[in-house]
């Protein structure tokens, strides 16, 4: 019996008359890296946004560690150990790098009114500093987030998400726009997070180089329905997947 951290059952999302996702199921095993791929407009981001509770599914259930979170407000997901990044960067642009990550630690800074007004516990600040070091952002600690270059901004989003100390890390196209060298580094970082800290990762990604290198399992979506699932090797050789992609990236990967 596999141990699933996240289960999505029969997820259907309709926008007006358009069915973006149709009776979709996915189960993410604890401690693994699971990739969700598919051509443009396949419904990946919609699914992703349902799981992180930014969209409300029309029907279906989302279970986190066996608990139904289908009607949970998005702002409570962080407290449950679910962190996410954004496809089009959503940084706190005018704030410093340090402050961005500090806000990530929001749910660990106490709950009472007294906590709200007092300075942050040293342990939280330490954790934030360690994250900055780990992502190589320490040197930019006091820089405004919007002044960083693109690669660093992506890292900052990741560092901010990690400040939540997530059980489940949801990454929306983490490699998009990065250079090869940076993708390799991201590859190392994600593998490390999964192996050493046991963080479960679900990523939506177009860059096959990353997906094929690090994923334990890959689910392929097309036109809102699942067309294949399996190890990277299995998916790569699946004829329906090759057809869906018309051989573009799959052959290169």
């Amino acid at each position: 019996m596999a141990d699933y951290l996240l289960q999505v059952e029969d997820l259907t999302v309709k926008f007006g008359g358009l069915t973006a996702v149709n009776r979709f199921n996915i189960a993410v095993q604890r401690g693994t890296i699971h990739a969700l791929i598919g051509p443009n407009g396949a419904g990946k981001s919609t699914t992703f946004n349902c799981i992180s509770r930014f969209y409300q599914p029309t029907t279906g259930r989302i279970l986190l560690d066996g608990v139904d979170v289908t009607n949970m407000p998005a702002s409570r997901m962080a407290g449950l150990g679910v962190a996410r990044t954004f496809q089009n960067l959503e940084l706190f642009g005018e704030l410093t790098v340090f402050e961005n990550v500090m806000i990530g630690a929001h749910v660990h800074a106490g709950k009472t009114w007294g906590d709200a007004l007092s300075a942050c516990p040293a342990s939280v600040v330490d954790h934030v500093e360690r994250l900055l070091e780990r992502t190589g952002l320490s040197a930019y600690r006091n820089a405004c987030a919007r002044n960083l270059d693109f690669g660093h901004q992506k890292l900052l989003e990741l560092a901010r998400a990690l400040a939540i100390r997530p059980r489940l890390l949801l990454l929306d196209e983490p490699a998009a726009g990065l250079r090869n060298r940076e993708i390799a580094a991201l590859d190392a970082l994600l593998t490390d997070l999964c192996n050493r800290e046991g963080i479960t990762i679900l990523l939506v990604e177009h860059v096959m180089q990353l997906v094929m290198a690090i994923s334990h399992k890959v689910t392929v979506l097309n036109f809102g329905t699942k067309i294949a699932e399996g190890t990277p090797e299995e998916v790569r050789n699946d004829s329906s997947v090759i057809e869906a992609y018309l051989g573009q990236e799959m052959i290169n990967a």
Binding site: S52, F54, P73, A74, S75, R76, M77, A78, G79, A83, R84, F86, E90, L91, F92, G93, E94, L95, T96, E99, M102, I103, G104, H106, V107, A109, G110, D115, A116, L117, S118, A119, C120, E133, R134, T135, G136, L137, A139, Y140, N142, A143, C144, N147, D149, G151, H152, L155, R160, A161, I164, R181, E182, A184, A185, L186, A188, L189, D192
Partner: protein, 336 residues
Amino acid sequence: MSDKAAAMLSRSEASPPARWTARSNVSPARIGLLALTTAVLIFLPFVVTGYVLYIANLLLVFVVLCLGLHLVIGETGQFALAHAAFYGIGIYTSGLAGNAFGWPFPMSMLLAGLIAGAVGVVIGAVALCMRDIYLALATFAFGEALQWVFLNWDKVTGGPNGLRISPARLGTLEILSDKQAYPVVAITTLLMLLLTILISRSRLGRSFRAVRESEVAAMAMGIPVRRAKVTAFGLSAFYAGVAGSMFATFSTYIHPDSLGFQTTILVLTMVVVGGLGSIAGAVGGAVVFGLISEFLRQTPSYQEIIYGLILIVFMMYAPRGLFAFIHDKAGRVFRG
């Protein structure tokens, strides 16, 4: 993670250029500024006359009003335009409590703040579903409606005839002059300033700024966006209520004329001209702009023209406010 990966992740090991560095949290300059402010406040009554102290009291009321608006607009990014209404609630609460029960002023001040804050939370809970222009207009409408209530609820507010209020008191002490009111006003201002700094540096302040910068990201970080906005709005109303009560300590007479949109706009311009988003900007804007309008009071038409020109020129050439402007220029001089 391996060191190699870390090295690869950061594109350059050199520290970022100076212009990237945002202002740090505790700088000697800031502590100096705060100390200087305190010193000026303490020594002022020994060197100036009653009239100047009256102006000082008035400016300090505007400082507190600006600090309140700073919380909701500067920190949280919500353009709420009903500040004068909450200021009015504070003035009337304090004045009426003094008239009816003769309460000691710290109590009526707290009551004024709390009632204004409570009304703020209720209005905020409704209005803050809206964004941008709609929020601004809804709160504007509320402010106008409340001014109408002040003007027409004759039995309680005295309506257009105004309301005479008895002197603020504490035990046997009665505040009868501007000079006597000054310590109360100054200490309250300092307390409110410290509270603002505290909020700004705390988890609460960070959640406000997160909401200002990106609501979706704030949500993903576990910040209940709506609640944060309502909290900021309620706090700003609390500040306005306290400011109203401060005004009541050195006034003998209340008139609803000054509790409308014009006052809200005056406070807004102070905050923007000082520098949106910075506490020093809010305080500085209140003092500088308050002084300008006081100097120009004798010639109303010139006052309006000059006032308007200042706003326009600032928006054209110093869009991030007085303090950022000075900071930039001074920086340029030092760098050569």
